[in-house]
Point group: C3
Chain length 276, copies 3
Amino acid sequence: MSIITLTTDFGLSDWFVGAMKGVLLRIQPRAQLVDITHQIPPGDIRAGAFALASCYSLFPRRTVHLAVVDPGVGSSRAAIVVQTKDFLFVGPNNGVLSFALDREVIRSVRRLENPKFFRPSVSRTFHGRDVFAPIAAHLSKGAALAELGPEVSEYTRLPQANARRRGLERIGEVIYIDHFGNTITNISDADLAQFDFRVLKIHLRKCKKTIPLHEFYQAVPPGQALGLIGSTGFLEIAINGGNAARAMGLKIGEPIAVRPIAEEVRKHSRSKAPPR
Amino acid sequence: MSIITLTTDFGLSDWFVGAMKGVLLRIQPRAQLVDITHQIPPGDIRAGAFALASCYSLFPRRTVHLAVVDPGVGSSRAAIVVQTKDFLFVGPNNGVLSFALDREVIRSVRRLENPKFFRPSVSRTFHGRDVFAPIAAHLSKGAALAELGPEVSEYTRLPQANARRRGLERIGEVIYIDHFGNTITNISDADLAQFDFRVLKIHLRKCKKTIPLHEFYQAVPPGQALGLIGSTGFLEIAINGGNAARAMGLKIGEPIAVRPIAEEVRKHSRSKAPPR
Amino acid sequence: MSIITLTTDFGLSDWFVGAMKGVLLRIQPRAQLVDITHQIPPGDIRAGAFALASCYSLFPRRTVHLAVVDPGVGSSRAAIVVQTKDFLFVGPNNGVLSFALDREVIRSVRRLENPKFFRPSVSRTFHGRDVFAPIAAHLSKGAALAELGPEVSEYTRLPQANARRRGLERIGEVIYIDHFGNTITNISDADLAQFDFRVLKIHLRKCKKTIPLHEFYQAVPPGQALGLIGSTGFLEIAINGGNAARAMGLKIGEPIAVRPIAEEVRKHSRSKAPPR
């Protein structure tokens, strides 16, 4: 069983994903195809990179991860395959793979230049179908990487804004808003590891709110806001039973500060192991 | 081939479903994964229960049905596995499984308490990934139920509002609105079995409409409203070629009455077998 | 491995697609099920036909293509199976299969009339579950076509509006709007094959705009409109990084004209092979 995952901004209302799967299965009929998501906002490379990075490592070793958020399709941007210790990644070299690759042990990065592994006729607007799907299928059948194209030294990295320290304060921002309206920040569990959650408050600057930090949604009454360390290991702002982004007008880039209460800070470590 | 179905409110825009599938396939690479739906309205346990109950029985015997609509994730609500005569069900013990289980012959209900079958680190916010997916995968590989946790006597049941009789009238309410705007009521085919459809009228109280009962959508001209026994065996309000819920402002809980015309009721049985 | 594709207007928010897959897998547990799309606008037979025609040929030979956009379900409209040189098609005989079939070598068209291959009880509102899914599953297991029902001479064809010539002008219309807001016209690559793209201008009559023709999206600056030959081989109107349909108010049926600049037309052929 060879697994190929798909992450795109193609949406689900047209035949685009079906077209890719047709090409994949024609070359590799035994593939197990898994959709990560096809609803990355159109052209939002950063959101695609974040989604892929948040789940790729859960798949079995040797899974081929295919990501196509590709506003530059048909231009001179390169297409790459990256072999890491555990996985293969295929996509445009525009950063969509980078948040995942940054966590991996890289074995090899190659530009996709051998048309023998593309569809016979390559359009200028749908490389998902004509380049990336056939490459992913051939990879899952064991194609030799050296045949696909020349090795290159680097892949394109998206800049990642890390949280900053200012004294005891941690300053970050909203980096992703999910289906539930939970807003994920770039303040990680590690950034807060030295604090007891009970002494921390989260300050939402634009909407001038201060909310507590807890461990799960129902730790506050329905309709109330809280922060918690979400399943990706980052601080999230949520509303128990509600949509935090909508209710509080939170957007990508919104500044977030986490600060211990007043001056008196109890520096004992938290009792539970952090989620990973 | 071992089939695992997924019913959640996770939506399709993030990596949540992909994350569950990664975990499932890592443990059970031969699983055939089938999405029932991931677009249950966030936290709507009742809608999740209705969706699952409407299709679970169509799957092959031994299918594992995984349902995660779980607003209480991380709190003290239990997680359960239920073995019935034909299927295995896994989910939070909040009622999301109950409409299906109420139709099944129950063999065993167990609380999921053995962390050996969870992911090594369990978050407080994503048990779909950390608890339910690994359990479902182990079940589909034949894990012994006795190892998963202690047997309990009951599962949580959601109350089901049945239709009532008032003389020859049948009184019910809207319980589900589908993608087409068809509004499903809790008045069942059995509730109407004694009547000839031709003598029945449906009364929509709030919008003060009376509409006829037919057997299929195109029995009335385009744009006109009708009632019919839908594919789940319940009375639905529909508009031929239109969206009944939107056009008539129907909502969950809206009262519906079905009544034979005037006084003269012909009590002959209907000629066709009812759909099942 | 036997592949069955699904194209419907059932949406993804209910259990309808899951129900079909349950029925499919119960009869044919080894099927590889592939969603083309389930978000055809409700009852839009033409959009369903276009989506299927745009990708069916990419799948491996002997794939069974199942399409259910079926506003006439339960009425007297027929259900058909069509065997072509390379594929099997199943669906209502209302034209939803016709754009694909028009490109195929037809071997046999049969009406589905043998209830032995349906579900034991057939509803009047959900033939996707009760008729088409079981038929598709039996076909993928090798059921003899002759057993399914009588041969008929024809399938229902949707009329296809082709582009017209008026001197050097090519006149067409918008026939499909995709997820990105790219608007696909019925002016094909062949219609424009005699021209150098550099001398062509696209005239959008209603919104009184004239835009250039290029080969890929980023050939114009972000936010600017262009025409290009899309991945289906038809002229599309797009905005680099934007939503052309929304920004320019383009709708299905909107007239589009392509015209060489002024009088001086250089009739040299284009240098690149057209995409297919």
